[in-house]
């Protein structure tokens, strides 16, 4: 684009997330929120008083977990190649990413340039992926020890499930805050809904990715 001026640049959009990536995001978002809401109802007496139908909330909770894994399986079989590529992108941290993590703590100097995902997003995604496995394993164990005597008293599945919840809540709240309220980052929500973001926003937040487009 010759003679690129700021006003026209704001009108240009670039694609950040593919349909498969967005589907995976919203699959996790809806099933996770359903599991969080029903899980709190199942575990907190202050909420159980409002919603006494334990069987119903339990079914929704387990149904949402099942929906997540079946959905993930479906997405992986349809778009596995592309999603595995995304996972590789999230997995690998270059020098700028490592500098960015240091910078995010110290806030000294300029922000190291970032690719399509910044290092914080990569780290969060990896932790969330780990939490999904921890939730699932401890959740299955809770289910088994409720229904089968052979599994009782062997593991601290309830404790682990609880701790994973208390770790997830600040993560999800921070994530939603950055995507909806925080002025400089909330434009990214558009990328997750429509797939595209403004080119000038991409240049400011993800310059190493923007220059490849």
């Amino acid at each position: 684009m010759p003679g690129l001026a700021a006003p026209t640049a704001t009108e240009t959009y670039v694609r950040r997330f593919s349909p498969a990536e967005r589907s995976l995001h919203w699959l996790l978002a809806t099933t996770f929120l359903a599991m969080l809401a029903t899980g709190l109802i199942l575990s907190l007496p202050s909420l159980a008083e409002v919603a006494a139908n334990r069987q119903l909330w339990k079914s929704v909770h387990l149904g949402a977990a099942l929906a997540f894994w079946l959905g993930l399986l479906g997405l992986m079989s349809a778009e596995g190649l592309e999603l595995r590529q995304t996972a590789r992108e999230i997995d690998s941290f270059d020098e700028d990413d490592r500098d960015w993590l240091r910078w995010s703590v110290t806030r000294e100097g300029f922000e190291p340039p970032q690719g399509r995902f910044n290092a914080g997003q990569k780290l969060t995604a990896a932790i969330v992926a780990g939490l999904m496995v921890v939730f699932t394993v401890s959740g299955v164990l809770i289910y088994l020890q409720e229904t089968n005597a052979a599994f009782r008293g062997r593991t601290s599945a309830i404790l682990v499930h609880d701790i994973a919840t208390w770790v997830s809540i600040p993560l999800i709240l921070g994530h939603i805050y950055l995507a909806t309220l925080n002025r400089s980052t909330r434009h990214s929500l558009r990328g997750m809904i429509r797939g595209t973001v403004r080119r000038d926003w991409a240049r400011r937040h993800h310059p190493k990715w923007e220059e490849t487009l």
Binding site: L44, R54, L56, S92, A126, A129, G130, V134, S156, L159
Partner: protein
């Protein structure tokens, strides 16, 4: 530029922590328990529930109406009873601090109970020599559970109408529940309305579903 697989490392670290928690969690949480006392009580009651989970089988929870509620004692007794809430409280008020264990794996330690010993009830109702089991029938239908007559007078067994310094709440079985600390929670019938003494064993709600009739903590149900 050199690349590191930091994502994989973070992912595996979370898995590792989860595995450590699963297999060493009870020891770790014991060590971390003093930290819990740093959290303000109101907050911890709201957020951690003091460890309680509220289980019920048929919503909505029974509601306690002091004007209408009575506790019946029927079956193999010389003197069937129908006690109002006030009459039940008048049978005496014992205090005890005992732990509560759920068969699904959670526990609440040092619950302060206030209640009536079954022995006081038996003095009034006078069980016949044929009475071998006491069936505790809940307002929540069809919940019921049972103890042998001998078990009803073991130390720590009571009809609890107060918990942690307050009248028993609806969530915990208002106005009165069975407290049997040596057995798992499902024996501790909530929302009591009738106690029926019988000659034959009638398995309780969960026992029909495969749980042990003698639900000794640490010595039953696979533990």
């Amino acid at each position: 530029m050199s690349e590191t697989r930091l994502g994989r490392r973070a992912f595996l670290s979370v898995l590792g922590l989860g595995a450590v928690g699963l297999f060493a969690g009870s020891r770790l949480s014991g060590a971390a328990a003093p930290l819990g006392s740093l959290v303000p009580n109101d907050l911890s009651n709201l957020v951690t529930s003091g460890g309680w989970r509220i289980y019920a089988i048929s919503p909505p929870w029974p509601a306690f109406d002091p004007a209408k509620w009575t506790l019946e004692v029927t079956g193999e007794v010389e003197n069937p009873l129908r006690l109002t809430y006030d009459e039940l409280l008048a049978l005496g008020s014992e205090h005890q601090t005992t732990d509560f264990h759920c068969v699904t794996g959670w526990s609440v330690s040092a619950v302060r109970w206030e209640g009536v010993r079954l022995a006081s009830l038996w003095e009034r109702a006078r069980p016949k020599s044929t009475a071998r089991y006491a069936n505790f029938v809940s307002m929540e239908q069809p919940y019921v559970d049972t103890l042998t007559m001998d078990q009803t007078t073991l130390p720590g067994v009571m009809l609890g109408h107060g918990m942690d310094g307050k009248p028993l709440s609806r969530a915990h079985g208002a106005p009165v529940r069975l407290v049997m600390p040596a057995m798992y929670g499902y024996k501790n019938v909530k929302w009591l309305r009738r106690i029926e003494l019988t000659r034959e064993l009638r398995p309780g709600y969960w026992e029909v579903n495969g749980y042990d009739v003698d639900a000794w903590v640490g010595r039953s149900n696979g533990y």
